[in-house]
Amino acid sequence: MVKRVEQVDSVIVRFAGDSGDGMQLTGGRFTSETAILGNDLSTFPDFPAEIRAPAGSLPGVSGFQVHFADHDILTPGDAPNVLVAMNPAALKTNLRDLPRGGTLIVDRDTFTERNLAKAGYDSNPLEDGTLEGYDLHTVPLTTMTLEATKEVEGVTKREAERAKNMFALGLMSWLYHRPTENTVSFLERKFATRPEIAEANKRAFRAGYAFGETTETFAVSYEVKPARLRPGTYRNVTGNAALAFGLIAASVKSGLPLFLGAYPITPASSILEELARHKNFGVRTFQAEDEIAAVGAALGASFGGSLGVSTSAGPGVVLKSETVGLAVALELPLLILDIQRAGPSTGMPTKPEQGDLLLVLFGRNSESPVPVIAASTPAQCFEAALEAARIALKYRTPVYLLSDAYLANGSEPWLLPDVDGIPELEAGFATEAPGAEFHPYARDDETLARPWAIPGTPGLEHRIGGLEKQDLTGNVSYDPDNHDLMTRLRAQKVAGIASDIPELEVDDPGGASLLVLSWGGTYGPVAAGVRRVRDAGGQVAHAHLRYLNPFPRNTGNVVRRYERVLIPEINLGQLRKLIRAEFLVDAAGFNLVRGLPFRASEVQEAVEAML
């Protein structure tokens, strides 16, 4: 049977199923196939914090959305064109996002009375007209998976059934002309110790592909041509992996051993797990007894001349506050990575938010300035980690790096940097006292940084601590004028970083009176929303902040240059508060706190409402 092939410029696919259905794996493999094909892409895994909520239940639904295109894209897409629903619960929770006319593929074997009841369906949506208007394909996925794997010896029925995600992946691979070799070799690697499981999965995968080729239900398949991206070598990378690589790069470029103190917490744990795999780089990962010990050990390692890092999310960052305060007083390099998630308290652990900005800026006792950097896309996390390390080392200061659950788990193609082109980072340890006596709190004229004299250096023995220190000598001091001086010096040191970071860039094709000012992980959706406004004829400028403390030196000029400023944030207006306070600009906010990234369309509407 000869089937028609249609060219399309972009597609958004969402895989949805039970937590135990392997949807993250399926989405990840589909993404890898897509990356190898050379499409630009962006992914968004959306899963519950519960590892396995009751099977078939609504809270147990796990999803993975991937957007791929023949041109550059900025987001995982607002709404899917194709929804793969592995059970009634997945259909129920995801159908509202699929526009009428969209392609819907369901495993009809799972639409049993019991599963329908668990999902809260009174009648079967496959039969009652609910799905009218969709391009519906009901496929007996489970039956066909069992059929395809029945001759594999040593595999239980349950194990065979679990390969149905690979059947779905095979079908989708056919539908969008994805290359399959890497998935086959991936399955062989993943199940190396159980070749029979590998075999069952491979058979299910191939059966899914063959089903697409032969069945009449799919008359058309689709091609998405490779995107014209900048030349170079690419790989797909999640934000957390890029952070881990950036930290290792900072270690290599500074010649300092990397020490990570961490306590497992969603969505930051995968940084610990990634770094634990790279001991050949001299990376020491320390899974501590708690968040406090994690950052304490990192600070201890910094005192000894390591690049000390601690990773966490908001509920862990609050516990680290006292140690970050100590690092402010000790003036030692330290990186604290906050992978923000929805709160307060435990909140929604797997869902993104931008709610920790004011926490990391101000969540310490007294005047305790800390530089803050925010990553903007998954791949940009690499540069953000390097930059955070540069500032920490040069200015002898703790630095907060903000990411979020969206960047952490989302992925995009990453143009690999030329490693020789990455600038070296200077540790610049003190090796001898410039005068007769060593002064641990003497300062560099330009940066105001103090010397970093690590134990083992003869003649520079000194004691530092959390008590206020006398200028120069670092001895304990309760002198009022000295405390005033030290408070101002610490503030000046951090404020002075503004002269050492790039100016805020404004994307303004001309004629705009409205500036959209975003920060951190919302870059993709906000830039995409702005594009849409312009495509519809609107005039709008966009600037994106990657430095939150200090702000780039031209920030005041930029925000004052426009009649109106709109600040979209996934919080109730934290940056807006800062911009208004700092620059006396009456900025407006666009705020949604739904535990989801912005959609480009939401940003578009908010901007258009201001035009």
Partner: protein, 336 residues
Amino acid sequence: MSEGNGSGAKRGPSAKDFKTDQEVRWCPGCGDYAILAALQGFMPELGLPKERIVFVSGIGCAARFPYYMETYGIHSIHGRAPAIATGLSVSRPDLFVWVVTGDGDALSIGGNHLIHALRRNVNIKILLFNNEIYGLTKGQYSPTSPLGTVTKSTPVGSLDHPFNPLSLAIGAEASFVARAIDTDRAQLTEVLRAAATHTGSAFVEIFQNCNIFNDGAFDFVREDKENRIYLEHGRPVRFGPGGERGVRLRTDGSAEVFEGEGEPLVWDAHHPEASPAFALSRLTRETAGATPIGVFRDVERPVYDALLNEQLAAARERKPAELGALLSGGDTWAIS
């Protein structure tokens, strides 16, 4: 160890070299002075250059200690010294890291860090100055104050049962556990020496008199020397004038004091089981009117620092550290 006098070789630092130019600011008569003097006197024995020694402390009277030692030092935050020292020790195996802490610092706010450092057997030496009171905050009861202790925060007596620091340390799998008394310089130095030569975590409780807020807390053993049960490895445990009293284990494994005739326990600090050391740690003023001092437990166990650094070395041997190879390690594709 330092070379002999007049040899012309480079000599290690002397006790004086470990004194800083900072005025010592403990209350006159505080037990901390004696401990500081003992430690400064003992340090030269290590034969280590000063720059390779680090003292880490938390908060409390005892925590001022690093300011008075001419080594590297951090006076950190309340209870966190074992965590900070862990990061330093693990990342710098060439250093000799000491933690100075108190009963509130180590057993209340920092209890979690203490037990985990001991469990991991990190190569740090922890000196707990126990005065059974909060001194720096001016006299509230501590987690080692006896039940019913009347303080400003417990005007009609404390309600919580105290920790026994040694029982806690032994329960936390500590590989070295000892006790000393601030004024007993010879025995304190001996315990410090044993702790210093132990590989892995060493935990030393030092009875320290706070003459302002809890004067005389340890008089039953500090002043009444016949109540000291000196533990010496390989020797029968006898004490009191003429060794008239002894310690033996009951059939249920607990320890008891007996008078006169009887078969005392021959002390084995290297016993593979922790139970004899635990049994002895239960002998207190309340249970026996006397208390053992010396080394309770001294066993060899894998050291966290060494294990971690071995993993690093093994990984380096397996795979070179090439940044370019790391970054392009996944599925890559080229666009021309």
